[in-house]
């Protein structure tokens, strides 16, 4: 490989990295800058905006509300998605191709449309669901399910179906075979589906905005509503906190996975064998 090709490759990678991180960096800088509107190099450093964001009540309420919605949506999406992925992967059902298409269909639906559909549903048939944690979470489940089914499905696809047959042959009931043999081997897929499902729900605006009254909203919707009225860097500050929180959660997950040996097991095994 010539030096030029090498240099071009590095330039390309750097350009992509800058493209991905630049918006995040600008938000981070704006949230600690003394300028009301960042138009150039920041004129000073302050934690004022972060303090304001942390003490702003709609953000505080929204944060807890978002946690509740995301947790509930993730649990329901896993409870529905794992058996569905298992059925598609294992059972010899007619029309599994069609089922798979149906399960990923919500991905192609604009989220605004999803939100509006649920709004119509709640207003006309289930008025008590509007504005509740359960109502918002249920709409989020629709967004998370395709993701859960794809991730868990690909985890299951990599498994030897004979392992479960062996467990049953050794006297395990189908449930015990699934719980003790299959489930532990798709832990990685489950953790990834749960973490990213949680983050997707936590960050969701487009669908959620239809399903909550202005007083009680999730954190991203609260940010959206505040931004409509006030463009001061408090919004940047809370965004920075969300970025940091998301990165922290993803990082902690990666560390936990590495510690539990779910990543890089191949290398450990080779070492043991040697």
């Amino acid at each position: 490989m010539t030096a030029l090709v090498k240099a071009l490759r590095w330039a390309w990678i750097t350009a992509c990295a800058v493209f991905i991180t630049a918006p995040l960096l600008i938000v981070l800088v704006a949230s600690v800058s003394t300028d009301h509107v960042l138009t150039g190099w920041p004129s000073g450093f302050t934690l004022e905006w972060i303090r304001t964001a942390l003490s702003y009540e709609p953000f505080q309420v929204g944060f807890l509300y978002s946690i509740e919605v995301a947790a509930l949506a993730t649990v329901i999406a896993l409870a529905l998605g794992v058996p569905a992925a298992y059925a598609i992967a294992r059972l010899d059902l007619p029309g599994t191709g069609l089922l798979r298409s149906i399960f990923v269909a919500p991905l192609s639906l604009p989220r605004v449309v999803t939100g509006f559909s649920f709004f119509v549903l709640y207003v006309s048939l289930m008025p008590t669901a509007y504005g509740t944690v359960g109502g918002v979470a249920l709409a989020h489940v629709l967004l998370l399910l395709p993701f859960v089914i794809s991730v868990v499905g690909s985890g299951l696809a990599g498994l030897d179906p004979q392992l479960e047959a062996a467990a049953r042959d050794l006297g395990a009931t189908p449930w015990r075979a699934f719980r003790q043999v299959t489930l532990p081997q798709i832990r990685l897929s489950l953790v990834i589906a749960a973490v990213f499902g949680f983050l997707t729900s936590f960050d969701e605006v487009d669908t959620s905005v239809f399903l909550m009254p202005a007083g009680t909203t999730t954190l991203p919707v609260a940010i959206f509503l505040r931004l409509e009225q006030n463009q001061d860097p408090t919004t940047s500050a809370v965004s920075s906190l969300m970025i940091a929180g998301s990165l922290l959660l993803a990082g902690l997950t990666a560390v936990a996975l590495r510690r539990s040996g779910l990543f890089g097991t191949g290398r450990n095994e080779q070492k043991e064998q040697a």
Binding site: A165, R168, D169, L170, Q180
Partner: protein, 341 residues
């Protein structure tokens, strides 16, 4: 470690997958305490039959009786059988000990009793020192030993083995054949083994059922199948054979003592052929030596008749042979077997 053995009676078992019939009314009795092999080429239905015996599948017709009790529709976890999968199917996230203990835990066994049984089983397959290892750190042969220990620890009436040696290299296969035979004798369990390897079946089995296209062609000991095959397929599949098709008594330039009856072919084992001087009194026809291969104990000679037919002869080591030589073919009349074509 002993187990109560049981005979298996399979009656009129048919299995269809969609439009394809994989097993056509199979009937077979397997004696208690015996080592039985289901032998046949891939696609003959032997693995399907094994899954029906294990309870991982249900026949469309027919019955399966194990130890005097009908088990046709009993699910796998309630049968007195255990299956060793071709891949071993060890649980990769469990240690060797936990793998072997899995079945006993399903039965509710705990504590010292569980430990003793697991140790006993690991000792039987000489894997006691590997109890703490993870399956990924074991070699193919070791994994297969653990798979067998995991199945035998349950003391099943019948141990089913699905191509247990096919993933191993030849040297290990030869060693494991003797081990399998020894474990069967030590435990007194009925072993039913699926294989496509006729040499393996002949070495380990008390009785072999040769399967072809969803039917059993013949059941018998290795000696019976070898000496008196009842069909052309068995004659060709068990050991090597020269098969002569035609009315006779002269087929491909070779003169046979008696002609083949209608619907029959004549068979001659390679070791029953002798080479004599062309045109001598003993010669039953002239052949040309095509190839000569030394195997250690014997010489394998590829021969060609005047009509271009290829034959195989297995001759004593030291027989002087040159490729291209024209020789006479000789054999005893008693070694010619007529089988249905």
């Amino acid at each position: 470690m002993t187990a109560s053995a049981s005979s298996i009676e399979i009656s009129g078992v048919t299995r269809r997958f969609g439009a394809a019939t994989v097993l056509h009314g199979i009937s077979l009795t397997i004696a208690a305490n015996s080592f039985h092999c289901l032998l046949g080429p891939s696609g003959c239905g032997k693995t399907t039959l094994m899954h029906l015996l294990a309870g991982l599948d249900v026949p469309d017709e027919g019955t399966i009786v194990i130890g005097g009790t009908e088990h046709t529709r009993t699910p796998a976890h309630r049968r007195p059988t255990n299956l060793v999968f071709q891949s071993g199917a060890l649980f990769p996230h469990m240690s060797v000990r936990d793998n072997v203990a899995f079945g006993l835990r399903s039965d509710g066994l705990k504590g010292p009793a569980l430990r003793t049984r697991v140790d006993e089983s690991l000792e039987l397959v000489a894997m006691g020192e590997f109890a703490g290892r993870m399956p990924a750190t074991l070699s193919g042969g070791q994994r297969q030993r653990i798979a067998i220990a995991r199945a035998l620890v349950k003391r099943p009436d019948v141990l089913l083995l699905d191509e247990p040696l096919s993933a191993l290299d030849l040297a290990l296969q030869l060693h494991m054949r003797r081990e399998l035979k020894r474990w069967q004798q030590e435990t007194g369990t009925t072993f039913v083994c699926v294989t496509h390897n006729q040499a393996e079946a002949m070495e380990i089995a008390d009785e072999i059922s040769v399967m072809r296209a969803g039917t059993i062609e013949q059941t018998g000991s290795a000696q019976e199948l070898y000496a008196a095959p009842e069909t052309r397929f068995v004659a060709g599949f068990i050991g090597e054979n020269n098969i002569f098709t035609g009315p006779g008594p002269v087929i491909d330039g070779i003169t046979f003592p008696t002609p083949a009856a209608d619907g029959q072919v004549l068979t001659l084992r390679p070791e029953h052929l002798r080479l004599v001087e062309a045109g001598s009194d003993d010669s039953r026809g002239g052949v040309r030596v095509d190839t000569v291969g030394f195997t250690g104990r014997t010489i394998r000679a590829g021969l060609r008749t005047g009509t271009g037919r290829e034959l195989l002869a297995e001759l004593p080591a030291g027989t002087p042979l040159t490729p291209g030589a024209e020789v006479g073919l000789a054999f005893d009349a008693g070694h010619v077997y007529a089988v249905p074509s």
